[in-house]
Assembly symmetry: C2
Homo-oligomer: 473 residues x 2
Amino acid sequence: MPYPYKKMTQEDFDKIIEITDNERVWVGDEIAKEYYKDEMPEYGVFPPELYVEVLNKEEVSEIMKYAYEQNIPVVCRGAGTGLAGGATCKYGGIMLSVMRMNKIFPVDHKNQTITAQPGALLIDIQAAAKEEGLFYPPDPGEKTASIGGNVITNAGGMKAVRYGLTRDFVRCIEAVMPDGSIMNFSSNVVKNTTGFDVKDLVIGSEGILCILTEVTLKLLPAPTCSSTLVMPFRSLEECADMVPKVLDLPFVPTAIEFLERELIDIVERSLHKLFPVKHGEAVLIVMYDASSKEELDRAVEAAAEAALENGALDCNIAGTPERAASVWEVRGAILEGMKADSVAQEECDVVVPRSEIAEYVKQAKKIASAHGIRVEPCGHCGDGNIHTEMLRGPEMSDEEWKKATHESLTELYALSKKLGGQLSGEHGIGNGRLDFLEEFAGPRMIELYKSIKRAFDDKLILNPGKMIKIDEN
Amino acid sequence: MPYPYKKMTQEDFDKIIEITDNERVWVGDEIAKEYYKDEMPEYGVFPPELYVEVLNKEEVSEIMKYAYEQNIPVVCRGAGTGLAGGATCKYGGIMLSVMRMNKIFPVDHKNQTITAQPGALLIDIQAAAKEEGLFYPPDPGEKTASIGGNVITNAGGMKAVRYGLTRDFVRCIEAVMPDGSIMNFSSNVVKNTTGFDVKDLVIGSEGILCILTEVTLKLLPAPTCSSTLVMPFRSLEECADMVPKVLDLPFVPTAIEFLERELIDIVERSLHKLFPVKHGEAVLIVMYDASSKEELDRAVEAAAEAALENGALDCNIAGTPERAASVWEVRGAILEGMKADSVAQEECDVVVPRSEIAEYVKQAKKIASAHGIRVEPCGHCGDGNIHTEMLRGPEMSDEEWKKATHESLTELYALSKKLGGQLSGEHGIGNGRLDFLEEFAGPRMIELYKSIKRAFDDKLILNPGKMIKIDEN
């Protein structure tokens, strides 16, 4: 507890139990170890002093009022599927789980929206929309994430090319401030110029500004059909050069991903899933959604024609759901495949301008191999968000691996900056990329981030030490 | 100068001339009166102490450094076409015009973006994109607005239903902070979770956080054809009820506007422009864009069918540009028509959930007429942004008009809040809606707005007294 936070006492435990319920509060060693970390234990393992499962915004508000008064840090937790070490109690204090606040309210057809509590699962929101003939497009890989977590990290995913990010689907937010005030940021309206756009500032703020207690999400009419094209190329450069050509066509693709042959081999070898296209050093996977078969056919035809004109070895059309599944299964199994194929992994989640994808990938490989690391870049080609996966071989010592990854990451972030990119496209900063953010953003921007943090959280009690460092003493 | 700002001296004038150029600085009475106000002199007429036309970000930075050190307020000004009394020197000081910073850089095809300085006109950006076969969709009524003004107020417009607002097209921003620091908020990337989303906070911040010096905007492939449908209904309720039906169809409309017969009559009578549809108490105007004739035909057919099934008296299809123009000309001439038909006007720019449009309009008319005011609601039905235009008859005294509009606005904002709406959909707060915002947002939100303002502008020198009041003494 380096910053003057209070070490929790029995009196504090009793107070939280009084606000909530004995059955929903755990302290000290009673707290399950899974709550010490998120999906990336590499980014920190920290035991909370108290773990509480809240039922409603009033409980959240009462807990925050008490924590604010007593100077106790609070970390809100959803499903814990984050990849940045964000939802952990770095400075001890209270872990406040919203997973029992998982109500999904009936779809509002007149406004084409759905409202849910933060603990509702993404997969359940998608299903609830679908049942009513509507569609919630954001589609990050992790379907058992909570919607609150998706909103507070601005989750991305494969379909961002056409539909955008989680941000683009958040109509309004209800949240509790560090001092316990319950606030509404915007309402169920399509546009708004009433004061500052606090809603968008809160989206992606990684739980350091306020605690979400309800979100209202925009839905779309569901597309009625979709098709996936696989375009094999001789080289990654040709593959990357195809991206702007696809985006220039009058049909907006839903997803554009790329895979190199080596990565396909890993998934085939480690997981025995077969990729339907056997040739080409790099393949571009392009997906289209449409509201009619005719529209879909025109899009697919135009894309296939453009592919062949621009050096694709051929163009495979996975027009049925089964054939498309065989493509997307391999894409979806990359992380699992790499885990099976290496001792440990580290990941770099930069986003670069679309025009710089090929250059980034080429140089990223050089950087990693100069540090003796096997690297597999893959990811969201359509939006320039390249996941550079670094794989640890059995021959590397802990120290060698740590040093090599740290040096590679430093150079990769510098490369991204040089190419006009950003540090993180969708995984965020959390605890794992703190130092890198300071370096990347520079002192004036960090100063501004700190001022913004203080504008919401003057006592620095909300998820302290994440995204920006606490340097108060 | 109630807040301790410095009254400018000859030394200050000399310093600004030294930073810039004698030919681009005016002081005191030399300053043209048009710079005392925006398009709404009702919302304040304030003479600057010094007016300067800057050429680049370095000049902006130097001026801000000096103003910060000397405690001199600065207001950035674009084309001055705002409707909220925003771009005026309420506390004197420096008016900094960016209208000579009007470069538009060549379209970046690989990233599908265009970069421009803040003084570039919207109309010129639209034309530059079009020349390259691309499309910048935001389309607020005022085409001679500057792009910087559009971004800093998050300008809306008619095509928001399909394409969204200015916000949705801003990739990144370069800006100067009150202390003179030059900052980049995001870069030319499609997604970003690197620190706080400052870019979106700045968009719509009405010039009170920083001064824009460059913006990069997303472009889309241009649609190749479009069509406009006019659906006359017996009543406004039937007309409003049609809106969610249109939005439920699998084709996303570009614009959905409504007009009541009385308003059409005003435009026909005052401006001698003829509206092509003569019957119906209220008409819904629906526009579709498409990338092919077939897609357009399917959209138009589905909408026409839905209209006739839901009580439209008929459905006129303005399929040629000329016929569509005759519809949109009348829509575009509303403000002019009302000006010709009344002594003065006041306007309420609320946005309500789409589901509440009919209820809002019905009650808005009751409220205005209870205060003896003729009212004409019209506007962006597709996004719930209703412009409630209040018209002053020749019989009302200044005092009666002022009292009646103030009381009506108070009730209209309360009505919007009750219906889940917001105070302003697209015109913003500026100087004209300050008191109303305090009432609408409530003390905790205003406190948060002030903290955010201070996080950027600790000396409160940037466009002071706009959006939020300055209460320091």
